[in-house]
Symmetry: C2
Subunit: 403 residues, 2 copies
C-alpha cells in the first residue's frame, strides 16, 4: 500500500482524491499496488466531503508521518508551496505537483534536492493540464534534439480568442463570457497578460534545452490589445490567432517568449479551440508532433497528478532518470531583439498605402479589410520591423507575428 | 555500454542505426549510458553503408552473443520476425519492434514470454510511427478507464483522402499520386483495404481493454469505394472523410473496427491531413486527448524504436510494468450487428425523394449535392440502417458512418 498526502484541497486537490478513489481498481490492476490518500492539508474543514476526516491543518503532521511516501502539492502560489515541497523532498518523500509557478521559479533547485535525497519531483500537471507532455518529452523524445516548441498553453485565453474568432465577439465581451462560464478568474491578469503561459513555456524550454529561464525575464505579450479588426484581418489571410508560448535554441542560448501569433489554418495548432491546449514539438528525428487535450479542469489535471503518483508508486525500488534544470544565467538568454519572424502588419488605409508599403517592405501581397490594409512580411528582427513600419509613414494598427 | 542488434536493415532499420549514431551524445546525456549497434541481420550486404561492417546473415550469431542485450526487430512480415523475436526473448534479450503484424497477431504470447524471462517487449513504433502513443497510454493514462479510441492510423490512405478532399482528385488519381511520391507501395492493398489500420487498432484496443482481438476477425472496410461525390457530400455537411480505426468497450466485450467516417470539422481529427496520423483517446478522467504526428517514414519511426531501446537501457536493473494482452476468445468480440452509429446516407435524387426519406428516417435535414440527396441519420444498428434505406425505395449511393 502506497500512502499519499494531498496539500491543498481545492479544485485539483479534491479531483486527485476522487480520481484515486474512483479508479482504485484500474490503478491496482495497472501497477499491482493500492494507492490511498492518508492525509489532506488545508486551512479549511470539509465536513461534507467523503475525505473530510483526512483533513489536517498541521503540515508538520504530514512531514513527520513515515508512512506517507508521496506528497501531492496542489496549493498554488509560491509560498508556502515551495517551502513545503522542499521540506518533503528533504524528508525523503517524493513530491508531485500541478503548481507551474513553483516549477517555473524553483524547479531547478527542487529537482536537485530530489536527486540528492533519492526521491522524485514530478510535474506532469503543471503544463497542459491532463495532456501527457512532460513524460513524453522526457521518455519518448529522448533520442531527439528538440528544435522548437510552440504551445497553446492557456485555456482561458484560447477560449476568449475562439469566441472572438468564431462569434465575432469583442475581447471584453469574450472575457465577460469566460468569467460567466467559470473559465476566467475574477482577476484574469495572469491569463490574459500571458504570465501563466510564460511559466509553462519556461518549463517546456527547460525540458527541451536544460536551462530554466525566469518567466519574468522573457518577452511576454498577452491578448488584451487584440481587436475584432485583427481577427478580421487574420481570417482574410486564412489564419487563426492564438496566444503562443514559443521556445527555440539560438546557438548555445535559449529563446522563450509568449505572444499572440497568426497561424495558417493548415497548421494543427489552428484547430485547437475553446479551452483546449495543444503543444506542437518539432524534434530533429521525429519531426512535428502535437499533444492535444484539456489544458485545465478538475479531473483532467487531477488525472495527470495521479499519473505522476502512479509513476512513483510503480518505481518504488528503481532509480528513474530525472530531468536536470540548470538555472539560467544572463548568458543563457537569447537576444530577443535579433529574433527574426515574419509578421502580419495592419495599417490604417490611406492614400497611396499600397505604394508606401511596397517601398518599405518590398513586393508583399496586401489585403484590404474594412479600414485596414494588411500583409505578411518577410522575416525581420524587431528593429527592422519597427523601422520599416515607420518608413511607410502610415498609422500602424497592429503587428502580429506569424508562427 | 548497451549493445544492440538490428534485425532487418531496410528503411526503418537503417534509420534506427542512424538515429543511434547521430544522436549518441543526446542519448548519453539523457540516460548516462552509451548505446551502440553491434550487429545487423539482413540477407543483403551493404558495402557502401557506414554500418556495412556490422552486417551478418546469421541470426544464430546474434542469438548467441551474450553482449547483445537488446534486439530491434524491423524486418516486417510475420515470419521469421515472430520466430526470431521469440528466440531472443527466450534467450533473455529484450526486443523492440516496429512490426505491427507481429504485435497484432502474436503480441499476447510474446509479452507473456518476455515477462516469464524477465525481459521486455516494446512496440512504440508499431502504431503511429514516431508519435508517442503506446507509452503514454500505459503510463500517463494509468489512472483512467479508456472509453474510446479513434485513430487515423494509416498515412497512405490519409494522403489519398486529403488529395480527394482538397484537390478534388478521384480515388484512382490520388492513389497514383501517392505511388509516385513513394507513399503507397506497388501493392497498396494492406493500406487501402484497411488491413494495416486493423492491425494497429487491435493493438490500441489491447492496450485500452486488455484483450487482443484478431485483425482478421474485426469489421474492416477500406477506402476503395469512396467517390468524389462522397467527398462533395461530406463538404456540404461541414465534414471531412477519414479512414478511422475505432475501438470501444461494449459491456465486457470489445468492439474494434476500421471504416471510413465522416468527421465534423470541429473534431480535431478533421485537421489531420496528408501522411500525418492522429489518435484521439477518450478517457474517463482526462477526457479527449489527441496525439498527432508523422505516422510513417524512416526517421520518425526509427525515433520511436530508439525511444524503446533507451527505455530498456535506462531501466536495466529495474522491473518495469508491462501491459498484459489476453488473446480474445469468441466471447470477447462485441456483436458488430448491434453497434449503433449515426451515418451519412446519400441517395440518388428522384421524385419525392425528400418525402420518402422522411417516411423512412424521420425528420432529418437533407442537403442536395449534384445528383445526390444526403443527410445524417440518428443512431441506428446495421440492420436498422439497411431496413430504413430499403424502405425509401430510393437507390442508395453510399452510407458513411459518423465518428
Amino acid at each position: 500500500m502506497v500512502q499519499v498526502a494531498i496539500l491543498g484541497f481545492g479544485v485539483v486537490g479534491s479531483g486527485a482524491a476522487e480520481v484515486l478513489a474512483d479508479n482504485r481498481r484500474v490503478i491496482e490492476k495497472n501497477i499491482g499496488k493500492t494507492v490511498a490518500v492518508k492525509r489532506i492539508l488545508d486551512l479549511r474543514d470539509f465536513p461534507n466531503s467523503p475525505f473530510g476526516h483526512l483533513v489536517t491543518h498541521d503540515f508538520g503532521e504530514i512531514l513527520a508521518d513515515k508512512e506517507i511516501s508521496i506528497v501531492a502539492e496542489m496549493m498554488g502560489g509560491s509560498h508556502p508551496a515551495y517551502d513545503f515541497t522542499k521540506a518533503c523532498l528533504e524528508a525523503g518523500k517524493s513530491v508531485v505537483t500541478s503548481n507551474k509557478e513553483v516549477v517555473a521559479r524553483f524547479g531547478a533547485e527542487l529537482l536537485e534536492i530530489a536527486a540528492a535525497n533519492g526521491v522524485r519531483y514530478l510535474f506532469e500537471a503543471s503544463v497542459g493540464g491532463g495532456i501527457p507532455i512532460i513524460r513524453p518529452m522526457i521518455n519518448d523524445l529522448a533520442s531527439n534534439e528538440i528544435r522548437t516548441v510552440n504551445g497553446i498553453l492557456n485555456g482561458t485565453t484560447n477560449y476568449i480568442l475562439t469566441q472572438m474568432f468564431e462569434n465575432g465577439v469583442s475581447f471584453e465581451g469574450a472575457l465577460a463570457d469566460a468569467r460567466a462560464k467559470g473559465y476566467a478568474e475574477a482577476n484574469p491578469a495572469a491569463d490574459v497578460e500571458g504570465l501563466d503561459a510564460a511559466r509553462k513555456i519556461v518549463i517546456l524550454a527547460a525540458l527541451a534545452f536544460g536551462k530554466l529561464l525566469s518567466p519574468d525575464a522573457i518577452h511576454c505579450e498577452g491578448i488584451t490589445k487584440l481587436t475584432s479588426e485583427d481577427v478580421a484581418v487574420a481570417r482574410a489571410l486564412g489564419c487563426s490567432v492564438k496566444l503562443i508560448g514559443h521556445t527555440r535554441r539560438v546557438g548555445e542560448r535559449v529563446l522563450a517568449m509568449v505572444s499572440p501569433r497568426m497561424i495558417p489554418c493548415s497548421n494543427p495548432l489552428a484547430g485547437v479551440s475553446d479551452v483546449f491546449n495543444g503543444i506542437l514539438v518539432d524534434a530533429n528525428m521525429l519531426g512535428e508532433c502535437m499533444f492535444y487535450g484539456k489544458g485545465a479542469g478538475k479531473l483532467p489535471t487531477a488525472s495527470a497528478v495521479v499519473a505522476d503518483i502512479i509513476d512513483i508508486a510503480a518505481h518504488e525500488n528503481g532509480v528513474e532518470r530525472a530531468p536536470v534544470f540548470v538555472p539560467a544565467t544572463e548568458a543563457d538568454y537569447a537576444d530577443f531583439a535579433s529574433y527574426r519572424t515574419r509578421s502580419c502588419f495592419s495599417f490604417v488605409t490611406a492614400a497611396d498605402a499600397e505604394a508606401k508599403i511596397r517601398a518599405a517592405f518590398g513586393a508583399v501581397q496586401t489585403v484590404k479589410v474594412g479600414e485596414r490594409i494588411a500583409f505578411i512580411s518577410d522575416e525581420m528582427s524587431e528593429a527592422e520591423a519597427e523601422a520599416a513600419a515607420a518608413k511607410t509613414g502610415l498609422t500602424l494598427a497592429s503587428r502580429i507575428r506569424m508562427i
